[in-house]
Amino acid sequence: MRRQNYRTRAVILSVLLLVILMAIYLSGIFITEDMILGSFLEAKLPPDFQHFFGTDALGRDLFLRTLKGLSVSITIGLAASFISGIIAVLVGIGVACGSKKTEEAITWVIDLFMGIPHIVLIMLISFALGRGFWGVLIGISFTHWCGLARVIRAEVLQLKSEPYVAISKKLGKSGSWIMVHHMLPHLTGQILVGLILMFPHAVLHEASLSFLGFGLSPEQPAIGIILAESMRYLSTGMWWMAVLPGLLLVILVLLIDKLGHLLRIIWDPYSSQG
């Protein structure tokens, strides 16, 4: 086969990654509660061919539980990306069309959200919503936009000082026309890549929060809860309960991260050769 160029390879690889991620997500949806329901006869088994990840203290298959937990993580990551995307666009518009005062106000709000450690803020929001799934979902969705918003703000400020924007203004084009024709083409790629690179952060925070006990209730499948349970059995030498689900989580995060970098390559015209 002829060696494909860098960009074509990036497209093929990113489609492949997307398919894998979809597979993890869908498998989590199709795994029903009673498939996870285990028996005490099979409790605390080390990994073998029947149970890839072994079983936990209640005899539940850890591989299935992990998959289901990861699909919950992906849902929360998607929600966080969606809301952050909206906020990032709003910030972009605000900085581009607003006055200096608006820009300063936006910077202040970003600084406010950056001023409280994320975990503490998510804890507070989750507490405000009475903990549980929605607490974590909303907590994570409304804390992860700052980084991207900061990047977008800097980008818009830079675009505003470009000669072609100034010329466009002198030619009598309106602010919204400039926004659509000169700014958005630059920003869409940034926002898209930024959202995908934010996804792993959201997933990791979800895992941390449910690990601490703020997320889903203990009988629900969540990667953090599986790992929190595993802590209790660590000293008895049941390593698989901690190592394998965590490993799958890390692989998931790495895959999404890779996807983000590939998309950046696809979007960036300079990287198409090579």
Partner: protein, 331 residues
């Protein structure tokens, strides 16, 4: 020189005002969030008492806590108390919040300082190595390691370390910052350090990849600059160039980044302290959140915001004052 001195004070004052406004907003935001919660703190408190409480007694507690006051009034009431240094009493520890924060912050500070120094120094050295051998095999291997480490959840790194060093090698105890059955004031310094190693190691593993990758990029930029090319043509050897031009140019941005990472450091310490049951602020804040200890939760939130804002301010000042390039532009 006079000019810079005045500018220094000017920047300091402007930053302080901003910090105060942010802290005030944090206090309002956190109070708002806590008041919105459907979780009933009085009910949780009574549950914690584990004795039967009559409706009259409950009403008395509510009266004492000011449950029936309007929220705005309650906020200002709380804020005036906080400004006087009165953070209230913790429900779970049954001690003044200020005292708990003071005591636990020292523990957390030891942990965070260790991790901060380790991750800063090692991250910087690795970043220099990576930037020096950009795109060659040492860089490729180290970059992979950095990416993988930054994709690992902190608590999982902690669990793995606990498994390897605690369960398999038996070098370290599993959890608890002091030996079981010994009063906390009798614990020797050596034992404290012994129990600090694993959490500090976890925390530094979490945070060093950021600084390493950042330094790598910066050094690569410097090494490709015209002045380095000129130094090469003059016949300076690689080590001198690295020492004179590379490290000097990279150390400041790295230091700034390290100071502005206090938020992540604190967040990481929440996780690490919970995994290793280390008695710091992080384990206290999650306990407060889970057991609805409002005054402790609010107190630590404010304190953590103060901590993070201080870091950001130091980063800002460093950035503005020490770098002559930026100082010139700002004139």
């Amino acid at each position: 020189m006079k000019m810079t001195g005045r500018k220094l004070i000017d920047i300091f004052i402007r930053n302080s005002i901003k910090m105060l406004s942010l802290l005030l907003a944090v206090s309002f935001l956190s109070f708002l969030l806590v008041s919105l919660s459907p979780i009933d703190p009085v009910g949780q408190y009574i549950l914690g008492l584990q004795t039967a409480v009559s409706p009259e007694q409950r009403a008395e507690i509510e009266e004492y806590w000011g449950v029936n006051e309007p929220p705005v009034e309650r906020y200002f009431h709380w804020l005036t108390e906080v400004l006087q240094g009165e953070l209230g009493e913790s429900v779970i520890y049954r001690r003044p919040v200020a005292e708990i924060i003071g005591e636990r912050f020292i523990n957390s500070l030891a942990l965070m300082l260790c991790a901060w120094l380790i991750s800063g120094i090692f991250g910087f050295i690795l970043g220099i190595v990576m930037g020096r051998y950009y795109d060659r095999w040492p860089d490729k291997i180290l970059k992979k390691i950095c990416y993988i480490l930054s994709s690992m959840p902190t608590f999982w790194i902690g669990l793995l370390l606990l498994l390897i060093f605690g369960v398999w090698l038996k070098w370290f105890p599993i959890g608890f910052s002091s030996p079981i059955g010994v009063l906390s004031r009798d614990v020797s310094l050596g034992e404290k350090i012994y129990h600090l190693i694993l959490p500090a190691f976890t925390l530094s593993l979490m945070s060093f990849s950021g600084i390493a990758l950042h330094t790598r990029e910066k050094l690569w930029d410097v090494m490709n600059s015209d002045y380095v090319l000129f130094a090469r043509t003059r016949g300076e050897d690689e080590w001198t160039i690295l020492k004179r031009h590379g490290i000097r140019n990279v150390i400041l941005p790295a230091l700034t980044l390290q100071f502005s990472s206090f938020a992540e450091l604190f967040g990481g310490s929440v996780i690490a302290e919970n995994v290793f049951s280390y008695p710091g602020l992080g384990s206290a804040v999650s306990a407060a959140g889970l057991q609805s200890d409002l005054s402790l939760l609010l107190g630590i939130t404010l304190f953590s915001a103060l901590f993070v804002c201080t870091g950001n301010m130091i980063a800002n000042l460093l950035y503005r004052i020490v770098d002559p390039g930026i100082r010139e532009v700002k004139e």
